[in-house]
């Protein structure tokens, strides 16, 4: 650190402390008697309706709905329930029920198994009644014990491989199969990092696999890992930013907002954008005046999320399905780990590459994402981009965003040139994880999706880009200027933008250096000549 930086840093620290101190004490202290009371005005453990045993989740839901009689209608309208999202701008029907990715690929013919993460009680058959109010699983989000989701998975006899690539069968007998719904019901409360994380940390089959900025390390995050969710930091939980009204949660991977021009929203709360809390000029006046000049073209995330998977949980960077299904000589499934204990090959899931502290890729992004679905034709010759983030340097709505690029190799219908789903789960010969037969597993999935399948299986390289939003570092962990402002900085491959340090036209630099260098060489030569002449003269004299 240079002396100037030191001075600036200490001034900044003082300023931040001065600003932060009153805020930390902003809540007036409660009297001891009040502090001992629960925060909520209703203690569910005292409700008559809940003083009994419940046989099933839907029986408990019936009790919940006897008071919260509008809740099911609200939940039924939510993305969490519908797993469907219609993007008004692109006209695409998306959501988990429709998209294809390069992790577990498609829900088609996997419905009831994928539905272990759906907020329903007993979606156990291919057909599911999305209008049944008693199917709303209140506990999925309102459990406060942190034990429910795991119990639910086991109760519904989820396929073990959905979560465990490797597991100890002898311990399987000890798993508690049926949650005590009465006990759980008497302890409901607000959603927490645990409840949201039970699904979102484990997207696509395991901790941190898909997102890289969402994993179990956030449960006990230090402020350096996540300034928002750390208990010693802002101590926020998911819904503080992902504000939820009438059970509709803000923030979407299908239609995110790249730039929020509305600024701070004191009364309304967060819109799941940085700007709704931090405003449009988020850096304090004491900081480098140029910082706030970045917000028009650089997403907050770009500087404040310096790396992906920073909490010690690795994230998958490549998922190659083409090698899946190999068995060893004894006909048993194979699991290979690298020296860090990460599974780099498994019969079930093929080959994998992992990363921690991964430097993101940077792209122009205006919030509009187009997804490939099972209906779209692909070009199998190149790398197929499963989702395309729109935007560019000339689009004022675009900013430069960090993304996690998840690469993969996945099956396609080679004749029809379409992506395919694969029936992974199940207990019959059509399930890939039972028989390891691509043809049957794909045929089953495509039949369920109502799409044709030629029977010709191919594999194609794919790429998925996931905007990065979480694990926001405090100021001390953000990028410094030189990380981008240099000849080979982080923005080096981002097109269409000039910034100091990137370098301009090489010809200008070359001519300029020749000019200065030529002048220097000229005066040195001239000086040498003068000295030589002088010595010759004095020699003569």
């Amino acid at each position: 650190m240079s002396p100037l930086q030191k001075i600036l840093a200490s001034v900044l620290t003082l300023a931040v402390c001065a600003l932060a101190a009153p805020e930390a004490n902003a809540k007036p202290p409660l009297s001891a008697a009040l502090a001992a009371l629960p925060a909520s005005t209703a203690d569910h453990s005292q409700f008559k309706e809940l003083q009994r045993e419940f046989e099933s989740g839907s029986e408990l839901t019936r009790a919940c709905l006897s008071c919260h009689n509008q809740a099911a209608k609200q939940v039924h309208a939510s993305k969490h329930w519908k797993w469907e999202f219609v993007n008004g701008k692109t006209g695409q029907t998306l959501g988990k029920r429709h998209v294809v990715n390069n992790t577990l690929m498609s829900i088609a013919a996997n419905g009831p198994y994928c539905a272990r993460c759906h907020i329903s009680n007993e979606w156990t058959e291919a057909k599911f009644d999305f209008t049944d109010p008693n199917q709303v699983d209140c506990l999925a989000c309102h459990d406060t014990t942190g034990t429910y989701t795991s119990m639910k998975m086991h109760q519904l006899r989820s396929k073990c491989s959905a979560c465990h690539v490797e597991f100890d069968k002898s311990k399987a007998r000890n798993v508690v199969r049926r949650p005590d719904f009465g006990e759980l019901g008497r302890h409901v409360g607000k959603p927490s990092l645990q409840t949201c994380g039970a699904c979102h940390f484990n997207s696509d089959g395991g901790n941190g696999i898909k997102h890289g900025d969402l994993d179990s390390s956030l449960l006990n995050a230090a402020p350096e890992l996540d300034a928002h969710m750390a208990k010693d930091g802002a101590g926020l939980t998911c819904f503080n930013c992902h504000k939820t009204r009438r059970h509709q949660t803000l923030g979407s991977r299908y239609a995110p907002q790249s730039k929020d021009p509305k600024g701070k929203n004191v009364l309304g709360g967060s819109r799941a954008t940085c700007e709704s809390c931090h405003g449009l000029a988020p850096h304090p006046k004491t900081a480098n005046a140029k910082l706030n000049d970045h917000v028009d073209r650089i997403a907050c995330q770009t500087c404040h999320i310096p790396a992906i998977a920073r909490g010690g949980v690795p994230t998958k960077t490549r998922w190659d399905w083409s090698s899946a299904g190999r068995l060893d000589k004894a006909g048993k499934e194979i699991i290979t780990r690298d020296d860090k204990g990460r599974i780099i090959y498994s019969t079930q899931r093929g080959s994998a590459e992992w990363a921690e502290n991964l430097v993101p890729d940077y792209v122009w992004f205006n919030g509009e994402v187009k997804y490939l679905t099972l209906n779209d034709k692909i070009n199998p010759a190149g790398t197929v981009r499963l989702n395309v983030l729109s935007g560019g340097p000339d689009d004022p709505k675009s900013r430069i965003w960090p993304v996690k690029t998840l690469r993969g190799k996945q099956p396609i219908d080679a004749e029809n040139a379409t992506l395919v789903g694969v029936r992974l789960f199940g207990k019959d010969e059509n399930a890939f994880w039972e028989a390891y037969d691509w043809n049957k597993a794909i045929a089953a999935s495509m039949a369920d999706a109502g799409r044709p399948f030629s029977g010709k299986v191919g594999f194609v390289e794919t790429e998925m880009r996931i905007p990065v939003n979480h694990m926001v570092a405090p100021e001390s962990g953000a990028l410094s200027c030189g990380d981008c402002h240099s000849r080979n900085g982080r923005m080096a491959t981002v097109p269409g933008i000039y910034y100091p340090g990137r370098g301009i036209y090489w010809l200008i630099d070359l001519l300029g250096l020749l000019l200065v260098g030529g002048a220097l060489a000229g005066v040195l030569a001239h000086g040498a000549l003068r000295i030589a002449v002088k010595f010759r003269k004095s020699g003569k004299a």
């Binding site: 240079s2 100037l4 930086q5 600036l8 480098n288 140029k290 000049d293 028009d296 410094s480 200027c481 030189g482 402002h485 240099s486 000849r487 000039y498 910034y499 100091p500 340090g501 990137r502 370098g503 301009i504 036209y505 200008i508 630099d509 001519l511 300029g512 250096l513 000019l515 200065v516 002048a519 220097l520 000229g522 005066v523 001239h526 000086g527 000549l529 003068r530 002449v533 003269k537």
Partner: protein
């Protein structure tokens, strides 16, 4: 015979040396910002370059005022008198020990070559530097100022860098020419003390 003449007033010397220091400092930090090398780190370089820019602009405001009020601006009125003889002197004749073709005086303390070069610094390179520099710094205000449709940051940056190359070239040659006085240190001594040894006959002109 030579005579000691008070050629450079106190303010003029102060202006010259602080300008020299600032220009050298801005070249060092500026070319770091441009990405040629890493010395202080980008952020300190950028911050110090900006502070130095404001200092230099303030200095120029004072210098322009001084030149205007003292009439010293006349020293930069261009003249082509013996211009080629002077150029020949610096390139060839200086080696043979021939006398300088131009006699300096209090009223004409710069030879015609100096006048042309210094004047182009004042009216071309310095304005190019600070106009392009100000536009560069206030990039985010182009919209409100109504300039956004006419400018592109990389063009402004190019203009700034080209001007920086020119002033650095000037600096190199200027520093070398300091050594071409009666003695090796004659010119620098004059610029430090203000007193110069001029030829008797020309000194009388003043």
């Amino acid at each position: 015979m030579t005579q000691r003449v008070y050629l450079f007033a106190r303010f003029e010397r102060f202006w010259h040396w602080s300008q020299a220091g600032l220009i050298i400092f801005m070249a060092v930090t500026g070319f770091e910002i441009h990405g040629f090398y890493t010395l202080l780190g980008f952020e300190p370089a950028q911050e110090l370059h900006t502070i130095a820019a404001w200092a230099l602009i303030s200095l120029w405001v004072f210098a322009i005022f001084w030149h205007a009020t003292t009439g010293e601006w006349k020293q930069y009125i261009p003249s082509f008198d013996r211009l080629f003889a002077i150029m020949r002197y610096y390139s060839v004749d200086i080696l043979t020990g021939a006398p300088h073709p131009y006699k300096k005086s209090r009223l004409h303390k710069h030879n015609p070559l100096q006048r042309i070069v210094y004047l182009s610094l004042w009216v071309l390179i310095n304005p190019a530097l600070w106009i392009s520099g100000a536009l560069y710094y206030y990039y985010n205000d182009w919209g409100p100022w109504g300039l956004a449709p006419y400018l592109k940051l990389e063009y402004v940056a190019t203009a700034h860098v080209v001007a920086a190359f020119l002033i650095t070239t000037f600096l190199v040659i200027h520093v070398y020419l300091i050594t071409t006085g009666h003695t090796l240190f004659a010119y620098i001594k004059a610029m430090i003390t203000g007193w110069a040894d001029l030829d008797e006959d020309s000194a009388q002109e003043s």
